[in-house]
Amino acid sequence: MAHIIKFYPVNNGDTTQIVLDNGKRILIDFDHIKAGEKKDNAVIDLAKSLRDELSAADKDYFDVVAFTHNDEDHIRNFMDFFYLEYADKYKGKTSDGKDRIKIKELWVPAAIILHEVKKDELSDPFAILRKEAQHRFRIGKGIRVFSKPDKLKNWLEQQGYKLEDRYSMITNAGETARGFTLENDGVEFFCHSPFSKHIDENDTTQSNEASLIFNIRFRTGTKEYNYLHIGDTERFVIEDIVKISKYYRKEDRLKWDILNIPHHCSYLSLSQDKGVKITEPTERVKDLLLYGNRSSYMICSSKEIPNTKDAYTMNCPPYIQARNCYEKHLDEVGGCKFLVTMEESDSLNPQPIELKIANDGISYTSSKKKGINKIINTYPPKAGL
């Protein structure tokens, strides 16, 4: 009896799958990188890996596929993997002749439906995702939309529908998503973000600040464990979440046993300043970091973050200064380990970080081959005269 969370090695991208002990599968984001199809690469062949897993479970669908936002590294190549209901083009075989994987329920922030698309962007992945989400929302089936900004109401009315008829498909910040309960599934998804204001007050092409943030609470036996899935979020959204949760006395939703490090370890999720050796988080972000429980984990979905001299001069994520900040706070709360997807993956056999959540807690067994095991499974460099 255990729930599993898998964090797939897709460089600076995101794909997470939750496999509940009742067999239900929730996929959060999809980033299939073509390079992962080649050998000797620690990036996973995501499409193949997910397909193999489903096949082993005798399934051709995910119960939920949630796209936290529509940046490329969260939706890459999704239209060549999933069965999309809005167009026949995406119902047939994939480019490599495989059957498409179905989505029972699609979860998107309202911003994905409202995203403005220019004419020359119509065949871009985000535009295709928007069409699928719009289609499902229009027919009122197989969709859940997070937050209810005025712009959503306007859009519905333009399409000739009433917002009232779609209430059951909408989850607002501060609510748990319908369909999953601790009693029935051992899990609930509490929506921290987006807030309506993120969409109403902003240009709808700015997706990062309107992305999905969940407190995902697991129950196994008598114990509960909290996973804070943050996605690509900048610090003021995190600050809002801390402020609002405290205001509504929902501090328990800020606690975490697993923290998904936002935005591939960008310092901007912690502070405006990178810092020389270590990023100093703003007070509210620090507050959130200190909500960690003892023996907790931080999972960073990104490239490797070596602690070398050169790393300190890099100017794109992941940042070593941010990692230092996270690890310092993890230490402060008596946490266990900061895990990086690409550091844990093995070029011999790329595998996700697989956290097991059981009654006796969260554990992780590395599948990475080392030493002798690695050598005898690897072609060494050329020898000889």
């Binding site: 023996s295 067994t365 499974n377 690897t378 460099p381 020898a383």
Partner: protein
């Protein structure tokens, strides 16, 4: 957190500090972070580290991150110690609770055995393993090397040997054998501990002789009118007086008389013993003798009172001479008079020596530091009353008990074999052979690394007890035990019989963390003791090196396999000595010819002795099928390698593993590593760092060979 040691101002660790290697291993292990370097008044440098083990579920009492103190105690049998520092660390099994709360009991063997394979990297992994397994409460259940509940008891009590047969009113006292060992002994009213028990008893009697009365006995020895008889009688009276308080119910007295036999004046030829049973009590006999000499008149006349005292003589058989014993055993006296040393007097060792003792073959110096524990009785020659005695003294006494020739006493050393002590072991003796029956890898490796006056032999049983191995050095010691061990392992890897040779049929049983006993019945010990003792005795005159395997099948047939022995060479590479025998070199040449003119290669199998810095090359593999080669280059493939290595590890019970790579260079070309070779050496050296072992590369051009160790 518990404070352990004192803060240290200088945070550096000196080059000769035994903690340095561990410190360096911590730095390169992502799951260990050094928090502080402290100093302990007794142990010196203490490393304070955080150990992360993500495999421990986060809600367990033992946490996925624990703070530990690592330190070194040269005085202890463990050397490297680990202590948990969290105040509320749970009390689990396998902690030395009595001595030092929170100290982890990581190993079941002693440092002497472990030092040859121990690496700091292994130690760190062992700590992680301990924490994880303990967190699951499985330390003993799934690991065959550790026992159930271990409640420290460094002090031990041994029951009196006769405890169950002694009378109910027997007094017992407690003796301190050493500060940690107490023994219950029969005591007296003034000095005893209270003991309660219930008992049944039995009676024994001796053999009856011709003389039937005490006076008749005197008559057979003396002329009763002789003064000598009077003196003898007085002596007898003195001896008897101490039995004045003897039990009223006693109706028997035993007299044993030792009679010196003198052939020529002043020269003692031998002594004879006579034993008699008198059918009266000692007290009664005394009263009669007192009467006989009392008060006046001619005491000699009073001898008549003894006429009624009946006695029975017990026959004491004369023991045979050594020559006679050898005659009975068919032992050639010419070959039987020599000195040898036996190291290790466990069940196999004691049984083998016991056979030679019966045969009076050789005169042995015995070396072993262990003592008899209760469970040893199952297979050792020791009896219950030997519990608590040293193993060497038991074997020495067993030998003495056979024929009781004082001058043939075996010499004993109650200590672990140590190469520095060899001078003492051989002092004054011309040693013909050293025989290791210690069933450790430490003694044969030690013997191999030192110069000795004679050849060495090592013998041991397989874990199931069904098979045995006999390694015999050549008389010039050109091929030593350690190389023979290598060649034996090559046979285990390649021979058809090697498949199950070292497999364990039963899980071992436990008497404590360092007291593990394999399940082997006495019949197997006896079979192999007999075979090995005979093989050594009959073949000791053969001067060649030998590897013999004895295997017992299900029908009780014993099959002997002789493994061809190759001569061996030692290559020096950096700080390491590489031991490689011709069997490996021939194999490399064979593979090379098979693929010539293309280059070829494969993996190298073997093991390391971290203590002596030796690398033992056991075998090399053929090239995997997916290797890519041409006349000047070779890329070793991976096809089938994992299975091959798994098989090697399974067959050798983890002794033999991957140690490096080999490949060929064309004829007449240098065997020095090329620029390409340097890259591979560099890369694989880095990869092996996490195992704590160096990388070895063999390059052969058909004629010459170069071995590189990095």
């Amino acid at each position: 957190m518990i404070e352990f040691g004192q803060p240290k101002e200088e945070k550096d660790i000196t080059a000769n500090d035994p903690m340095l290697v561990l410190y360096e291993a911590c730095l390169s292990n992502p799951d260990f972070s050094v928090i502080d370097i402290r100093e302990h008044e007794k142990y010196g440098t203490v490393l304070i580290v955080d150990c992360i083990n993500t495999e421990i579920p986060s809600a367990k009492e033992i946490r996925n991150k624990e703070r530990l103190a690592l330190y070194y105690n040269p005085q202890s049998s463990n050397k490297h110690h680990v202590r948990v520092l969290r105040d509320d660390f749970p009390r689990t099994i396998h902690q030395y609770l009595g001595i030092c709360v929170g100290e982890l009991c990581l190993y079941h063997d002693t440092w002497n055995t472990r030092k040859r394979t121990w690496t700091p990297e292994f130690h760190l992994n062992r700590i992680k393993w301990w924490l994880k397994t303990a967190s699951e409460g499985k330390l003993a259940i799934n690991d065959p090397l550790l026992e159930p509940v271990y409640v420290t008891g460094s002090k031990k009590l041994i029951l009196a040997n006769s405890f169950f047969t002694e009378k109910e009113d027997t007094y017992y006292r407690l003796d301190e054998v050493n500060p940690n060992l107490f023994k219950m002994e029969v005591g007296n009213e003034c000095d005893h501990i209270d003991v309660l028990h219930f008992e049944v008893s039995n009676v024994a009697h001796g053999i009856i002789h011709g003389v039937t009365t005490l006076i008749g006995f005197f008559g057979s020895m003396y002329d009763v009118s002789d003064n000598m008889a009077s003196i003898f009688l007085n002596t007898l009276r003195d001896k008897l007086s101490k039995y004045g308080t003897s039990n009223e119910n006693t109706k028997l007295t035993i007299i044993i008389i030792t009679v010196p036999a003198i052939r020529e004046a002043g020269e003692l030829n031998y002594t004879s013993n006579y034993a008699f049973i008198l059918k009266i009590s000692a007290k009664e006999l005394l009263q009669k003798i007192e009467l006989a000499v009392e008060p006046s008149g001619d005491s000699m006349d009073s001898f008549s009172v003894l006429e009624a005292v009946e006695l029975e003589a017990i026959q004491l058989l004369e023991k045979p001479s050594i020559g006679q014993i050898r005659l009975y055993s068919g032992i050639n006296e010419h070959n039987a008079e020599f000195n040898g040393i036996v190291i290790g007097l466990g069940s196999l060792g004691s049984n083998i020596v016991s056979i030679w003792s019966k045969e009076t073959w050789g005169k042995w110096t015995l070396i072993d530091n262990d003592y008899i524990k209760p469970h040893n009785i199952a297979r050792h020659i020791a009896k219950s009353y030997n519990i608590g005695k040293s193993k060497v003294s038991v074997v020495q006494f067993d030998h003495y008990s056979n024929y009781e020739y004082e001058d043939s006493l075996y010499r004993t050393f109650e200590e672990s074999f140590h190469e520095d002590r060899v001078k003492e072991y051989v002092t004054g003796l011309d040693i013909r052979v050293f025989i290791d029956i210690s069933t450790s890898n430490d003694v044969p490796r030690s013997l191999s690394s030192i110069e000795l006056p004679s050849r060495c032999i090592s013998t041991f049983l397989s874990p199931s007890g069904e098979n045995s191995v006999l390694l015999v050095e050549d008389s010039n010691r050109k091929i030593r035990l350690d190389s023979l061990e290598c060649q034996y392992y090559r046979a285990v890897i390649n021979a058809r019989w090697g498949n199950e040779f070292l497999s364990t049929k039963n899980k071992p049983v436990y008497g404590g963390c360092r007291d593990i006993t394999a399940i082997i019945p006495q019949d197997l010990i006896s079979i192999h003791s007999a075979i090995i003792s005979r093989a050594i005795r009959l073949e000791l005159d053969d001067l060649n090196a030998r590897i013999s395997i004895f295997m017992l099948d299900n029908s009780c047939n014993v099959h002997r396999h002789e493994i061809p022995v190759s001569s061996c060479s030692v290559y020096q590479a950096n700080e390491w000595s590489v031991i490689i025998d011709d069997g490996v070199i021939v194999k490399i040449k064979k593979y090379r010819n098979k693929y010539y003119p293309n280059e070829t290669g494969g993996i190298v199998l073997g093991y390391h002795d971290q203590y002596t810095k030796k690398i033992y090359v056991v075998d090399v593999s053929d090239e995997p099928r997916d290797s890519i080669s041409n006349r000047t280059s070779f890329i070793r493939g991976v096809s089938g390698l994992q299975n091959k290595l798994n098989d090697v590890i399974e067959r050798t019970k983890g002794e033999v593993n991957y140690i490096g790579e080999w490949h060929s260079h064309p004829n007449m070309c240098s065997t020095k590593p090329s620029a390409d070779d340097q890259i591979i050496i560099h890369q694989l050296k880095d990869e092996l760092r996490c195992e704590g072992i160096p990388f070895l590369m063999i390059i052969s051009n058909g004629e010459d060979m170069d071995i590189i160790v990095r």
